[in-house]
């Protein structure tokens, strides 16, 4: 049952081949047995899951059950879940029980889905390896001494290990796409504004987006249909109809123009990864697409621009964690200053503190124009590169990451070495475009991903391209060993 896709689970439940309670119990037992190997889950919501599954089974017996009725899913521990701890991977929120649901969670409740638990993640979504979580690192099911990627490492590992057929995740600089690539699963970051950020703990407000992870493009389309909505509680939510992202999945790719940026195939790209991506691009040609070499000349500035903008916004967003209204508070504060300074020094991990300090520096008087002002201008240049490219092509493709999963600790103590992991994914966030990663090969037994970038609100076309490739390839069906 754990090898079924979401689409197959929906059919199976509708046909009464099995019940929601059966599949939920099966997956809960799997998590209890297997997750000690991966540490992908921070909280398992056994009672809530079984209650929701029972309720779903009743609805399935009546007419018109909602789209994902009875389907068990895992949610990244960044989405507020009413009455269920939401830690954001941090000691600061280890005791935080939200009094409300994120809009994404409400959307899934309305669709009838069942929540199995909350997945592990880099602290406050800051990281590319899931090594910074207060709850310990997540291990890559394909290679347990390697990272699963981050920050949505828990969701990616859980889907790869078949602990659930789908999971939610978030992406600010690549945090859906990169772990999806390193764990051999399919992950999609929607256009900025497509998915509501209400109740999704904020890291960098102009970059954050929630999105689905699953083993297939079709499953991601089903999840995205549920996640996406206009929300007037999120002032950056796009007031724009949500199409059925499944409607065009089987469209022909004849005549599709795929841009291949030369900057994504230069030094720093591992040769095995490059070969796998080139092989995938050849498949696209066989499917009728045309490859067009393009240039995104400001690609080299994307990591520096991001590491000004994201920390700056994070320093503002994380100022709410002060030990006063919720979350961690230091013991016996001597005065208000001590309350703030010690709560935050004790509650936040090293990487989070570093990014807050960088952000504070870039926003401080005398430096604001030179850093934040300049970075926002560079952001315009990066956005313009894509706007120009999309005049000639329909989609852009390239590698998701420079190499497959690396060993724990491999990036050493220099933070910048870790930051360069995101080199292909970061521009997409800066431009607000949608992007996804699909498995396209194994290098040294470890998965690599093909990244697909679409034009604004063109998720359906990205999913169509991904689906057609998955119909003629098998990479997305491969499973790691040791997860029976």
């Amino acid at each position: 049952m754990h090898n079924l896709t979401i689409a197959e689970i929906v059919t199976g439940l509708q046909n009464r081949s099995f019940s929601s309670v059966e599949i939920t119990e099966h997956l809960l037992a799997r998590a209890a047995r297997l997750d000690k190997q991966f540490n992908s889950l921070i909280t398992i919501t056994e009672n809530e899951a079984l209650e929701a599954a029972k309720a779903a089974d009743q609805r399935l017996a009546e007419e018109n059950a909602p789209a994902l009725c009875g389907v068990p899913l895992i949610h990244k521990d960044i989405f507020c879940t009413h009455g269920v701890r939401t830690s954001c991977g941090s000691k600061m929120l280890d005791n935080f029980i939200p009094p409300y649901n994120a809009t994404v969670i409400d959307n899934f409740n309305r669709c009838g889905a069942v929540m199995l638990g909350k997945s592990n993640m880099d602290e406050f979504a800051m990281g590319s390896s899931n090594e910074t979580s207060f709850y310990g690192p997540v291990k890559n099911p394909w290679s347990p001494d390697c990272v699963p990627g981050g920050s949505s490492g828990g969701s990616a590992a859980a889907v790869a290990a078949r602990l659930a057929a789908g999971a939610t995740a978030t992406d600010t600089g690549g945090s859906i796409r990169q772990p999806a690539a390193l764990c051999g699963v399919t992950g999609l970051k929607p256009t900025y504004g497509r998915v509501s950020r209400w109740g999704m703990i904020a890291f960098a407000s102009s970059l954050d987006q929630g999105g689905p992870m699953a083993r297939t493009a079709e499953d991601c389309a089903l999840l995205l249909n549920c996640m996406a909505s206009y929300d007037n509680k999120d002032s950056t939510s796009a007031n724009r109809e949500v199409p059925d992202h499944c409607a065009k999945l089987n469209d022909s790719l004849e005549g599709l123009r795929i841009g291949v940026p030369r900057e994504y195939f230069s030094e720093g790209l591992d040769s095995g990864t490059e070969q796998a991506v080139q092989a995938a691009l050849s498949e696209y040609q066989k499917l009728g697409a045309e490859l067009v070499e393009i240039s995104l000349p400001n690609t080299g500035l994307s990591v520096p621009a991001y590491y000004v903008i994201a920390p700056a916004e994070a320093s503002a967003n994380l100022s709410r964690f002060d030990g006063v209204k919720y979350g961690y508070r230091c013991e016996d504060p001597s005065d208000l200053q001590d309350l703030y300074c010690r709560t935050r020094a004790e509650g936040f991990g090293e990487e989070v503190q570093r990014r807050i300090l960088i952000g504070t520096y870039c926003l401080s008087a005398g430096y604001y124009e030179a850093y934040y002002g300049k970075a926002q201008q560079v952001r315009q240049l990066i956005r313009q590169d894509f706007v120009d490219a999309f005049k000639q092509v329909d989609l852009i493709m390239g590698p998701t990451c420079p190499s497959p999963a690396f060993a724990f600790g491999a990036k050493g103590s220099d933070p910048v070495a870790m930051y360069l992991e995101d080199i292909y994914t970061i521009s997409t966030n800066l431009a607000g475009l949608p992007g996804m990663s699909i498995p396209c090969g194994l290098v040294g037994g470890k998965p690599v991903g093909l990244q697909i970038i679409g034009n604004y609100f063109d998720e359906a076309r990205m999913l169509n391209a991904a689906h057609r490739y998955q119909q003629v390839s098998d990479w997305h069906n491969l499973a790691p060993e040791g997860i029976e």
């Binding site: 002032s235 030990g323 208000l336 300074c341 020094a345 807050i356 300090l357 520096y361």
Partner: protein
């Protein structure tokens, strides 16, 4: 751009994060490394850019009460409260 001990102390104060004496060097190294990365931005030619007029439109709503009073539920998770107030250490002497 190099960062000295006083800079770290100023930043720590602005960010309200305590940085101890023995952490200052490590924090300083980490920050310097990132600042070296971001200094690459200075080389970018942004002279031709006009002001970004694509500002996200700020939606406004009617100035009417739309929320219910949920103080008890919202304060249930606070570290220290009394009579509906959040308790903090003394601010003024």
């Amino acid at each position: 751009m190099s960062i000295d001990k006083q800079d770290i102390k100023n930043l720590a104060q602005l960010a309200r994060i305590a940085v101890s004496e023995d952490q200052v060097n490590q924090v300083s190294e980490g920050l310097e490394s990132v600042l070296q990365l971001v200094d690459q931005l200075q080389a970018a030619d942004t002279s031709g850019l006009i002001a970004d007029t694509e500002q996200p439109f700020q939606h406004l709503r009617e100035d009417q009460v739309s929320e219910t009073n949920q103080r008890e539920a919202l304060q249930a998770i606070a570290p220290n409260t009394e009579d509906g107030l959040f308790l903090v250490p003394r601010v003024l002497d």
